[in-house]
């Protein structure tokens, strides 16, 4: 799986449901995180949270759209949950593909396969209004800031490679811990992808705001892809379905529905 995902041989292989290389024949087995967060996976019920089967949330909705495109009915889609390590460990997988905002990088392609990107995001800075970083307008303003990010995200790469602050970024397992550090005033702000930024400022961390959005162009674009076991021939068919969705405008519609951007944010570029 060193090259393009298409080397599974998608062109030659039939993409009929019966011919697909599936973990459970006839069923599309999709993995996501435990728990999965809005706005990527939401739920219809009270807490609006973590119910992929409801098809609410961007990634959940995307999966059902892809499944339909590939010829699966909704009840032919089953969800499994994986931790980070299970998803990337070598050996057989218990899912056909896994999606939880995995950024596509070259190094990762060595051990797993990614689909074509299904979303490209910008990074955003979240902080309390009275913090040291509120009101910054240039990357240079952030040089002496103490910033945090979640491990394994391109947000972290962005802080390190693009902002490159004087004190190394604090790295957290989860945004929950990052939030606690913010509340403990151990860091000035956290960098997350924009959709997540919207969600956590609105729901999770009372009183925070999106201080700024970073222009995508200034960093390597952060592209999310579906993750497959290394060498999985399914990639080709999924990519086909994905490009159909993109061509038809269905993908953009899903983005609009779930990943609302309010606009009017301060934008910082290099």
């Amino acid at each position: 799986g060193d090259d393009d995902a298409a080397d599974g041989g998608g062109g030659d292989v039939s993409c009929a449901v019966g011919d697909l290389n599936l973990v459970t024949p006839g069923t599309l087995t999709v993995a996501t995180g435990e728990p999965a967060f809005p706005p990527w996976v939401s739920g219809p019920s009270g807490d609006n949270f973590d119910d992929p089967e409801s098809g609410t949330g961007f990634e959940a909705a995307l999966v059902y759209a892809l499944a339909a495109e590939m010829g699966f009915s909704d009840d032919q889609v089953t969800w499994v949950r994986t931790g980070f390590d299970e998803a990337i460990a070598p050996g057989p997988k218990n899912f056909d593909f896994n999606l939880q905002q995995y950024s596509i990088t070259e190094a990762r392609e060595e051990v797993v396969d990614f689909s074509d990107p299904y979303y490209v995001t910008a990074q955003a800075l979240v902080a309390f209004p009275d913090s040291a970083v509120s009101g910054v307008t240039t990357l240079a303003d952030l040089k002496d800031a103490k910033l945090g990010a979640q491990i394994g995200t391109t947000s972290l790469d962005f802080v390190e490679d693009v902002i490159d602050p004087d004190s190394a970024a604090a790295v957290y397992d989860t945004n929950v811990d990052a939030k606690s550090a913010l509340e403990a005033a151990q860091i000035d702000g956290i960098v997350v992808d924009l959709p997540t930024a919207y969600y956590i400022t609105a729901v999770e961390i009372e009183g925070t705001e999106i201080v700024a959005e970073f222009e995508t162009a200034s960093a390597a674009p952060d592209q999310y892809g579906l993750l497959f076991a290394d060498g999985n021939s399914l990639v080709g068919c999924v990519n086909e379905a994905l490009s159909t969705l993109r061509g038809s405008g269905a993908l953009a519609a899903l983005e609009d529905e779930w990943l609302v951007s309010a606009g009017g944010l301060v934008s910082i570029s290099g």
Partner: protein
């Protein structure tokens, strides 16, 4: 170098002399001990007072000590905890047995046993140096992905195996401390009645050694109880993992408190029972005197 005179002794009539219930209870430093205990309690109380009255306490309380979230998370955490207990029991039995064998091999004397001793020391040094998480990942993901025929693939199996391998190395060293604390003359006495090295270890040295290190063994016991949770990286949903999930979902840490309460419910009684038991045993077997 004149001996200090006895202070504050009153003459008493012999009728005051018996019966006495707790003779010479006044130990040196008795007042100091009372002062120390009282001031500890006062200081802790003060800290508690300051914390509880700080402006930000309600927020911290909500995030770490919320009764609501405790009740919410408890059932899930408890159900995962049951798996922890099972893993723990299986692992602990294996660890105590394997570590004992390892420690006994290490304690063998004589050049004939050198190769075995080298193997055992290498094992202990190497395994203790490796972060246990890495061992769990390596065995839990690495071995099944080799897809060797006849080799189990269950992450639970390999996770517990990794814990056993790692903890056995630590526990073997605890046993060794015990073995070395048994006086050499015991080994000699045992050999002199014709026991082999192995028999001497088994019947004479090890039983005394184990008694000598029970608190340290219990340490391993208590920390294994918590470390079984590490198999969560393999995707196993045990108690701490459930607490994690709850925490990630709600951004509230109280679920960890629920997990801690469960751990305490097991570990404290075990520790108290062990202390009571060893103390009783000690009294039965060893007089206060030479």
């Amino acid at each position: 170098m004149n001996p200090t005179p006895i202070e504050k002794v009153e003459r008493r009539g012999p009728q005051a002399l018996w019966p006495r219930r707790s003779p010479h209870t006044r130990e040196e430093g008795a007042r100091g001990a009372l002062i120390a205990a009282t001031s500890t309690v006062i200081v802790l109380g003060l800290i508690l007072f300051v914390v509880l009255n700080s402006a930000a306490w309600p927020k911290v309380q909500r995030q770490f000590f919320s009764w609501f979230h405790f009740k919410e998370s408890f059932p899930k955490v408890a159900s995962g905890f049951w798996l922890d207990i099972q893993m723990f029991l299986v692992a602990e039995v294996l660890i105590l047995a394997i570590a004992l064998v390892v420690a006994m091999i290490r304690a063998l004397r004589g050049p004939a046993f050198l190769p075995l001793r080298i193997i055992v020391v290498t094992y202990i040094d190497l395994i203790r140096g490796i972060p246990i998480l890495l061992l769990i990942l390596l065995m839990g993901f690495g071995i099944p992905s080799l897809q060797l025929p006849g080799v189990p693939r269950s992450p639970l199996f390999w996770g517990v195996a990794a814990l056993v391998i790692s903890y056995s190395a630590y526990t073997a060293e605890v046993y060794r401390a015990g073995i070395e604390s048994v006086h050499e003359s015991q080994r000699m006495s045992a050999r002199s009645i014709g026991l082999t090295q192995g028999q001497a270890l088994r019947h004479v040295i090890v039983p005394q050694a184990v008694r000598n290190v029970i608190p340290a063994l219990l340490n391993g016991f208590v920390s294994l109880q918590k470390d079984v949770a590490l198999v969560f990286v393999l995707g196993v949903r045990e108690g701490l993992r459930e607490a994690d999930i709850y925490n990630a979902r709600t951004f509230n840490y109280t679920s960890y408190i629920a997990a801690a309460v469960l751990f305490l419910l097991v570990s404290v009684p075990v520790a108290r029972f062990t202390d009571w038991y060893t103390e009783r045993d000690r009294r039965r077997k060893q007089a206060m005197s030479s």
